[in-house]
């Protein structure tokens, strides 16, 4: 039983030698939440996702994902979660349909129901005219769309999205935003979204966590963070929490 809590971590830490990628992360994400996980490059976002999706062993701490203990139920967690990795790891010699069939088969799905779902997802993402072309000829945005489709293919309860719109054009980003919102509302799917794009997070996410140097430094709703930092939008709130105000005078000193 998860009592409406999809992700629950307790002092989760990960070290690589002397580098602390994640430090004492204690977090709760409720079912149906669109959780935005923000932070600068190298803050520990991707490492957190990899730990929570069962791909990486934490150094210390505990976690439950979809009510299942992370240490002992990795396979069951994988069955109910979907992962969109940071960079596209596609098979260049397969077509979009073949790749999605492959992902479906890995999740023990096949037959007409799988193919219907593949067709609908590809049509939704505007790829139906190119669905039989080899992925080697796809642009990076098109590859990203295929990966998003592969993440949703087996109807996971929890979806990890690592920079989902980084390579997408504005119209494709809008589709992904809408898709996330509709799935969260209609099916109760929980989204854990790592992103640098504060505007995307502000539009899509109802809860935000900000991680810096491996530590969770702020969390709450978008409005909570804006109010707490007394600024106008999430970007300014983020900059105030993490730092990174630009010194305009310094920008031309290299010349």
């Amino acid at each position: 039983m998860n009592n409406g809590v999809t992700i629950q971590t307790q002092k989760l830490s990960k070290t690589f030698g002397h580098v602390h990628a994640v430090r004492n992360l204690t977090l709760e994400v409720h079912q149906g939440t669109r959780f935005g996980f923000l932070g600068p490059n190298g803050a520990g976002k991707t490492t957190t996702v990899r730990i929570l999706s069962g791909l990486m062993q934490q150094s210390s701490g505990t976690a439950r994902v979809c009510g299942l203990p992370l240490d002992s139920k990795r396979n069951k967690i994988k069955a109910v979660t979907g992962l969109l990795p940071e960079t596209p790891g596609l098979y260049s010699k397969l077509s979009a349909v073949e790749f999605l069939e492959f992902i479906g088969a890995l999740n023990d799905r096949n037959g007409d129901s799988l193919h219907n779902r593949i067709d609908r997802l590809l049509a939704l993402l505007g790829l139906e005219s190119r669905q039989d072309d080899l992925l080697e000829s796809y642009s990076s945005g098109m590859k990203q769309k295929v990966l998003i489709a592969s993440t949703l293919l087996h109807e996971p309860e929890l979806v990890f999205l690592d920079e989902p719109t980084a390579r997408l054009d504005p119209s494709a980003s809008v589709i992904v935003k809408e898709l996330i919102e509709i799935l969260a509302q209609a099916t109760g799917t929980t989204f854990f979204i790592c992103t640098h794009q504060t505007s995307f997070a502000e539009d899509v996410c109802d809860q935000i966590g900000i991680i810096n140097e491996g530590q969770l430094v702020a969390s709450g709703s978008v409005q909570d963070l804006i109010s707490a930092t007394k600024v106008k939008n999430l970007e300014e709130a983020y900059l105030q929490i993490v730092g990174g105000k630009v010194d305009r005078e310094a920008l031309l000193t290299w010349r």
Binding site: L83, D108, S137
Partner: protein, 563 residues
């Protein structure tokens, strides 16, 4: 203004001598001094002592004087292949045009790139000549009592020949890269071509190893005077003869003339004309060959069509999700040109090997060729090579992210590896036939021998596939075939599989020597005619066991969460 090619040459020089970056000039100078001492004094001294220890130099002298022209041509041919084809093959496996794009976006002409890259590498090539070639030449210097000036001229000729060949290799490589690097399909074709080029190079190397005697005779034919590697070879032969302190008679010089056909002057002229022509063509065509800066590149889009009967058959046999995985692995394998080349490579190796072995047996007096034991051993080597080389981690994964995707599914890694294994087993079915047929024909065999060799060969290939897949799962790589991990996996797989095959025979033989009656026990159980079959059975079982173990360990390691 600094010439652009000289900046590129400097960068290339810095890259090629990065190991000595602390004090580059001093270290390179010391290395050159050491190289000269090694080539002109140390190597003749050490090799002279070693040679004298094995065969008295007077006897060696007679042999080497007779061998000189043929050996030089064979050696130059070997160097030519080594320098021209192997780097070409390697660079085709890793087409990276990004660096060229940086150069060209900074308004650098392709001619500057070509010259700069080449000149920057010359110091390193010079060192290679000084350190590597003396062991091959010193014996002739000793036998012919070549004066110091003659030795220096020989090294210079060799250096010139190597530079010309490298220039030619760079030119061809750059042209092919420019054309094929334009699309991902082109890169794939380049990969395939690279492996085929390796076939072209490996067959003559085997030839030199096993047929050097016949090879020299063949190379002595006039037709070889048309090949550019013959001219520097003949120049070196003439320098050796003319700077010899033995004092050859006019008749002896005429005898050499008859073998070599052209005299020193003519051979030198041919070599020089070839060098000037190659350099000139390179410089003149550099800016025309490369089409980067002309306009937009074309990208070929490949659209898949209806599945063919084999895939439909697999789907019918295995209609579930596992069948879909097998089909995916099957499609992925056959859509890569490099895999098709690898299959061709494996088959050629397996066909060439029995030929070489039969030649050796004829050479050592066993005119009948193969007996059953030899067939099993030679067949085993060939089949293990096919299985190991063709399937050990070929395009196992294209990126680490692909592994994350597979690992993020329940038991995904194990299912994926099993599917790859099954698809490889299917692909390997026809591979057992061709080498078996060649071996049967060579040994004058019968249908039952053919069927035995097919079954034996297939089991060995399957065992090597299991072993190779296990090794790759244990040590996965995410680049193309040029990555060190891939090369390491291929070496471990082929060597490991071959060792496993022969381990039972070795254990039995050494056990026999140590007084353990393994050999007799098997002999008593199956009789003399049954011995080869018994060893074949033991070899197959041992490879299957080792292959299964490697597979289990590999899959376990690949499946576990990253620590």
């Amino acid at each position: 203004m600094t010439r652009k090619w000289s900046r590129i040459a400097k960068a290339e020089y810095q890259v090629s001598t990065v190991s000595f970056r602390e004090n580059r000039t001093r270290n390179i100078t010391i290395l050159y001094a050491l190289g000269l001492i090694w080539a002109l004094f140390l190597a003749p001294y050490i090799i002279g002592i070693m040679a004298d220890f094995i065969i008295p130099i007077e006897i060696l002298q007679i042999i080497l004087i007779n061998m000189l022209p043929g050996f030089m041509r064979a050696a130059m041919f070997f160097i030519w292949i080594l320098i021209l084809i192997i780097p070409l093959s390697r660079s085709l496996q890793e087409i990276k045009i990004g660096q060229w794009e940086i150069f060209l976006s900074n308004n650098v002409s392709t001619r500057d790139i070509l010259i700069g890259t080449f000149i920057g590498r010359i110091p390193l090539y010079g060192l290679l000549v000084l350190f590597i070639t003396p062991p091959f030449l010193v014996l002739f210097f000793l036998a012919f009592e070549v004066a110091l000036l003659g030795q220096i001229l020989t090294y210079l000729t060799l250096f010139l020949m190597i530079l010309t060949t490298i220039w030619l290799a760079n030119l061809i490589t750059a042209a092919i890269q420019a054309k094929l690097g334009e699309s991902s399909r082109g890169k794939d074709i380049a990969n395939g071509v690279a492996i085929l080029l390796a076939i072209v190079s490996i067959v003559p190397i085997y030839g030199i190893m096993f047929f050097s005697q016949h090879f020299s005779v063949i190379l002595g034919l006039n037709v070889f005077l048309l090949f550019p590697f013959t001219w520097p070879a003949d120049v070196i032969s003439w320098i050796t003869i003319h700077s010899s302190q033995i004092g050859f008679s006019v008749e002896q010089i005429l005898a050499f003339q008859q073998i070599l056909n052209f005299d020193l002057l003519f051979s030198t002229a041919l070599m020089s004309i070839f060098t000037i022509a190659v350099v000139g063509i390179g410089l003149a065509s550099a800016d025309r060959i490369f089409t980067y800066n002309i306009g937009a590149r074309t990208e070929q889009v490949t659209t898949i069509t209806r599945e063919h009967f084999v895939i439909r058959g697999i789907r019918k046999l295995a209609p579930g999700s596992f069948g879909s995985l097998v089909v995916t692995c099957f499609k992925d394998f056959f859509r890569r040109a490099s895999n098709i080349s690898k299959i061709a490579y494996g088959i050629i190796l397996a066909v060439v090997l029995p030929f070489i072995m039969s030649q050796i047996m004829i050479n050592i007096g066993d005119v009948g060729g193969f007996d059953m034991m030899a067939l099993i051993m030679v067949g085993g080597i060939g089949m293990a090579m096919i299985g190991g080389y063709t399937f050990s981690g070929t395009a196992f994964m294209e990126s680490k992210d692909q592994l994350w995707i597979i690992q993020s599914t329940p038991s995904g890694t194990a299912r994926y590896v099993k599917a790859r294994l099954v698809s490889a087993f299917i692909i390997a079915i026809p591979l057992g036939f061709i080498p078996a047929l060649v071996m049967t024909l060579l040994s004058g065999g019968t249908l039952d021998r053919f069927l035995f060799l097919v079954a034996y060969g297939y089991v060995i290939i399957a065992g090597a596939i299991m072993f190779g897949t296990g090794v790759t799962a244990w040590n996965p790589y995410y680049e193309d075939t040029k990555s060190p991990e891939h090369q390491m996996n291929v070496i471990i797989t082929t060597m490991g599989a071959q060792f496993t095959l022969f381990a039972p025979i070795l254990i039995t033989m050494f056990g026999d020597m140590a007084g353990l009656p393994f050999w007799n026990m098997i002999h008593d159980a199956v009789g003399a005619t049954g011995m080869p079959y018994a060893f074949a059975l033991i070899s197959m079982i041992s490879l299957l066991i080792v292959g299964s173990l490697a597979l289990v360990i590999g899959v376990k390691r690949l499946s576990r969460p990253e620590i």
